[in-house]
Symmetry: C2
Subunit: 426 residues, 2 copies
């Protein structure tokens, strides 16, 4: 049998007891005849504790040193996991990102994987050992310094290693049973989906579903590496993230569900630049300023300018964590651009419906908006992609909006199976 890559997150290895439980699952996979490569995150809250420690000595830790510090977290979990496996009679060897051949660029704290050269992992497998690899970390191709991939980077490590090793599957273990049609904490009838396409999963991840990170799904899609999202606390089947054609192939109705799931996001805020002169280049200078401040913009809406004044309003959403920086940067621009004022609203949220089926189904937007209207939900902004419709609304109306959409498209019944878990915005 082939290679299986398994990734365990921090909650799956939170303490010695959890580590021992995970070790048993890994050994069972090995005994079933697979070559096993395990990617592991730092134990429990280790990463946050290390960041706290850094902040005790400096308000602005240099990126190189912060990466050196944080990578101690996986070093601990991987070594302890290897020991626990050894205690079950199987040989396991741990490898840092660098030792595993995870080569990145030099952007500390958000490095991108350039190449994976897993020679030492292949050697370990050839010698019958289980390989344990530190997630989230790599080594810079140019400076040879230790880098990290950013939060959630362990998922990306797992998929990248799986692709480089030509693994059969990349299993992502987490603390929920898989991907749901909506967040089960919000929607009582939310159901777990057996299979979903990369494209839908990408939209889910980009719009608030927190289980898989965007980069990990992108990497999997590019390399056609099936992801199996499962709970490390149960033996349930979980959700497969696969090519679109493979979603339908497995005995599912050829007529795909129009909507696969509802995602929501509470992590955004909205800024409105009021009274912008409607001239060429004004919007560009606003967004150039934000780009220079390293702020990622999500949705943008520009009103038609009022004829009388030739002034327009530009609204956009952005991560709440960037709100203060964005307001500061824009305030400095006030005189140059000549806008009237800035409005900041951090009590907004975003609700998205996602489904490949909407490509061929007219009336999805109308149905979505009618459901929101019936639930008394006010739409502040709208954006769409080929397989997604997102609305921004007041944060207090998110739960109502998610339930209304879930109900309107029949996601809680047996009619559909593809579903997505909505994140909490944490």
């Amino acid at each position: 049998m082939g290679i299986v890559v398994q990734k365990y997150g921090g909650s799956s290895v939170a303490d010695a007891t959890s580590v021992k439980r995970v070790a048993q699952r890994i050994v069972a996979t090995r005994k079933a005849g697979h070559d096993v490569v395990v990617v592991v995150s730092a134990m429990g809250d280790t990463t946050d504790e290390l960041i706290d420690l850094a902040n005790q000595v400096t308000p602005l830790p240099p990126g190189r040193e912060l990466d050196m510090l944080l990578t101690a977290g996986e070093r601990i979990s991987m070594a302890v996991l290897a020991m626990a496996i050894g205690n079950l009679g199987q040989e396991a060897r741990s490898f840092t990102g660098s030792q595993a051949g995870v080569i990145t660029d030099s952007e500390h704290g958000r490095a991108k994987i350039i190449d994976v050269t897993p020679g030492r992992i292949e050697d370990a497998l050839a010698q019958g050992a289980i390989a344990i690899v530190a997630g989230f970390q790599g080594v810079s191709q140019t400076t040879k310094d230790i880098t990290t991939l950013g939060r959630g980077g362990s998922d990306t490590t797992a998929v990248a290693l799986a692709a480089a090793l030509a693994a059969d599957v990349c299993e992502i273990y987490t603390d929920v049973d898989g991907i749901f049609t909506a967040d089960p904490r919000i929607v009582a009838t939310a159901r777990q989906i057996p299979r979903i396409s990369y494209e839908e999963m990408l939209e889910m991840a980009a719009n608030g579903a927190k289980i898989l990170h965007l980069r990990c799904v992108e990497y999997a899609r590019r390399n056609d590496m099936p992801i199996h999202v499962r709970s490390s606390f149960s033996e349930k089947q979980g959700t497969w993230v696969v090519r679109a054609q493979d979603v339908a192939q497995e005995g599912h109705p050829m007529e795909q569900a129009i909507i696969s799931g509802v995602a929501h996001d509470r992590s955004e805020s909205k800024i409105t630049v009021v009274g912008v002169p409607d001239k060429v280049g004004e919007a560009a200078s606003i967004f150039r300023t934000l780009a220079d401040a390293q702020i990622n913009i999500d949705m943008i809406v520009q009103n038609v300018s009022a004829a009388a004044t030739n002034l327009t309003d530009i609204s956009f959403t952005l991560p709440r964590t960037d709100g203060q920086n964005a307001m500061t940067a824009l305030a400095r621009l006030k005189d140059d651009v000549g806008f009237e004022r800035l409005q900041y609203d951090d009590s907004v949220g975003k609700v998205s419906i996602i489904g490949a089926g909407m490509r061929s189904s007219p009336g999805v937007t109308a149905k979505f908006f009618q459901a929101l209207a019936d639930a008394g939900v006010n739409i502040e902004m709208v954006s769409t992609s080929e397989i997604r419709i997102s609305v921004v609304t007041a944060e207090s109306q998110i739960d109502a909006a998610v339930n209304a959409a879930h109900e309107a498209f029949g996601l809680g019944t047996d009619e559909v199976e593809a579903v997505v878990y909505g994140g909490t915005g944490r």
Copy 2:
């Protein structure tokens, strides 16, 4: 000015506050014009906590994985220290043992340094940065696996790096003011020594003084690297460990003090093999058995055999931590060797007087033994080297013995200056 290597132990970097204080000392050294390389241990009790964690998942952690785990400790301290220095406006870059070029053999948990190739450290210094290096760790020349040098290995890292970089001095920072004529907690009149020879320091370290590790002093002597032992909590001058000729050269009386210091050790136990047939090869088989069990023997005494029985007793001392293993190994030998019984005593201790001056001073032994007798101390075993006399006595008599020796050789007065700190056997 040249390169200064500074080593800070775990108690000097126990928490964020300590790290910031150490950072100020390092920056002051840099500002005085030196190139500074810092070797740092894990913060406070980190190493013990990591060992505890390992023991929660397995009673026998594999050496490779234990080394991987423990090296996370210095990774944390070195990154945090580099950040704290950065916060003071100086650039600092941290390096793992591997990155610093500390090449070792493959003996996990007690690796020996084979080579030091500090190219990245030299680059960092050339670029004006302070280099922070993880103590205690290296990388195996053959397997490329991470290794550790064993407890106290950070001192050895510091001296090895200092030698490889041709540093002016290797400063070892600790939580006491330097090397004392005896443990100040036992001897009220104990005095700190300004200078001591490598040879005397070696005897001190081997016989219970815990401030410097044997390997570190050996490495320094072989490479003629001056060690400066200082407190990180004060600005006092500390103790220089230098060549014997340099002890006298610095304005000291040419007539060296006969005794430089008194060391003691509470970490040993004594085993007596009673009624060993006095035949060729019996002692050899006893000590071969112990060697096979990886037990280090310290002192050995064999009595003249009683003429009537042709039986003799063999006593030896060994680390208390090895006591159980040794007794088990010897018990299995009982029938082969035909000895009568084993006696185990873990309430013994060792007191040593050390001084290069005893080479040319007859009567030192007599004076030492008379002092012990006057203090009511019973001598159980004796061993000597060219510059040391050690006795084994009951643990309860150690304090009295140390004080008697210290007094007898006038160490507490102005007559001598060379002195040694006696360890606690912890």
